[in-house]
Structures are given as structure tokens and as C-alpha cells.
Symmetry: C2
Subunit: 172 residues, 2 copies
Amino acid sequence: MRYGIVIFPSKPVQDEINAYRKRYDPHYSLIPPHVTLKEAFDADDEEIDKLITEMKHIANKTDPFTINVNKVSTFAPVTNTIYLKVEPIQELFDLAETMQSGKFPENQTYSYVPHITIAQKLSQDEYSDVYGSLSMKNIQFEDKIDRFHLLYQLDNDVWTVYESFVFGKEYV
Amino acid sequence: MRYGIVIFPSKPVQDEINAYRKRYDPHYSLIPPHVTLKEAFDADDEEIDKLITEMKHIANKTDPFTINVNKVSTFAPVTNTIYLKVEPIQELFDLAETMQSGKFPENQTYSYVPHITIAQKLSQDEYSDVYGSLSMKNIQFEDKIDRFHLLYQLDNDVWTVYESFVFGKEYV
């Protein structure tokens, strides 16, 4: 099965971000707004059971933290994805890094950039328009994070949550 | 915020069910295939924290169980919803009942019928056609259940998972 690990911002933040994604992100209906910690990877049942134990340990070692978003950015020219830049904080890098080591498969191809995608797979013209208009907006928020989620992907590409990992609250 | 409590069947079962839902269920893109344990209810942050503790206790007291689906059924004439009938087993009734008592708000208006919706909000003509054709299909499966999920609803009506409760594995 194909899994991924993400952080979901709180409902008010998800609602605000979805207003943009609805227009510009074809993945809008496949997954709620999220910060990816680990990109999609394959694991069988036995492997994922071991990783779940790892994720519980990781969650127990992590304290709740605050994320901040202050600006819109883009991965262009690599891809024309437009995203909300999550201010880089050690907690996010630590989580992402831990999930590339030990029992976890290594599947990170670019250096880790914490972000929330709001537009992707646009034509070049659309991209320029949308990036221009989104850059002018004052999108700012802070949000308290106290958990991450393990998701798996269905055949229709929708991601479903398999398990939540609440910081300091997991029984191993 | 608006919450709900559901069981998600395993991925192979979800994929099979989605093949029907895609055509007949307008909620297809709002939530993966599920067995509702407790219909949508409202709770503030303080209330939901208390209920989460309750749900951990409930999960810890529940052993994994097997659900079986053997036939298609309908809520007509009350609504023209078509569903997969989940064979009634005590574990499901116990879970649903517990979530109507104690600190949980009582919000069950009909007697509890464990089911997985595959078609709803059809016109009367569509309903007759679809029910006729689905009734002829041999939809049968069994599935192991070891957890339930607490979801909340976003402004766009999509349900996101807030927390998973794995039977016998929750730290309270």
C-alpha cells in the first residue's frame, strides 16, 4: 500500500486555505490542506506495523509547536506549484529527517521545504496570473500543531487517514 | 465544530465500494466509504477533549472484530438511500450505544442500523433503476476492524480525520 505522513492545520486554517485550493489545486478533493512530512512511500503490512511503532516513539518525543505562514512562494521553475511557505522551524525539519532514517525508507529527493500547496498543475499562463494575484494577498496565520497523521491512498487517489499520532500521548 | 465517528473498512474494501459510490453517491468526494457509529454532532474544544478521553476508554475496552456484508438494502421509503447491510453484531451496537450515553450528546433519531451507504439523493426513477441493478450484484466481503475514527467537517463539507482510536492501544 502507498502511505504518506502529513500535518493537518486546524479547521479554521484549512477552511481559509481551501478557498484558494478550490480554484487552483486539482488535488483539492483528494486530500485536505496539509504540510507533508514524508512524501508517498510503499510499505507492506509488516513494514507499516514497524513504522507505526516508530511513529509513536517520534510523537512521544515531540512537544506541541506553533507554525507560522507569512507568504506565498513557488517551486518554479522546477514545477509551477504555488504554496504557502511555512516558516522553517527545527521541529519540522527534525520530524521530516527522522522519517528518512532508521526503519523508514529514504524517499526524499529534494531538500525539505515545509509548505502547504495551494495551486499546482496550472498552465504557464494560468501560473503567472495566479501567482501574481496570490502574491499580493496578505495570507498570514499561526497554528498550534500537536499531532501528525499516517495516510494511505485509495485507488481513486483519495488519501484516507489510517492513524493519528498525538505528541506525548501515544501508548507503545 | 461538527464531529462524527466512523469505522473505515480496509483499503481493498474501500476501493470496491468506491466503484459504486462514484456513480451513485454525491458524497463520494466528501468522505471515504464508512460505517457510521455516531452521526454528526456539535461540540466545542472543551467538550471534544472530554469525549476523546471517553473514546480512548471505549477503544481500550473493545476487541478487534469482523464485519460481514452480504446484501444490498435500502432505507426507502424514509429516504431512497441504498446501502450495504453490515451484518448486525453486538460489537457495533455496543459501540453505537456507548456513544449515545454518558458524556456523549444523544443524537440518534432512528434505531441503529450498521451500514455503508453506496447511493443517495437519487431521483425516484434513478433510485428504482440503481436499486434494481445493485440488488442483482453479488456484493460480499468480510473485514477485520480494529479501530474507529473521530472526524470533523470542514466548511466545504469534506470530513477530515482528527484522531484514530485503536482497540486496546490507547494511552489514557
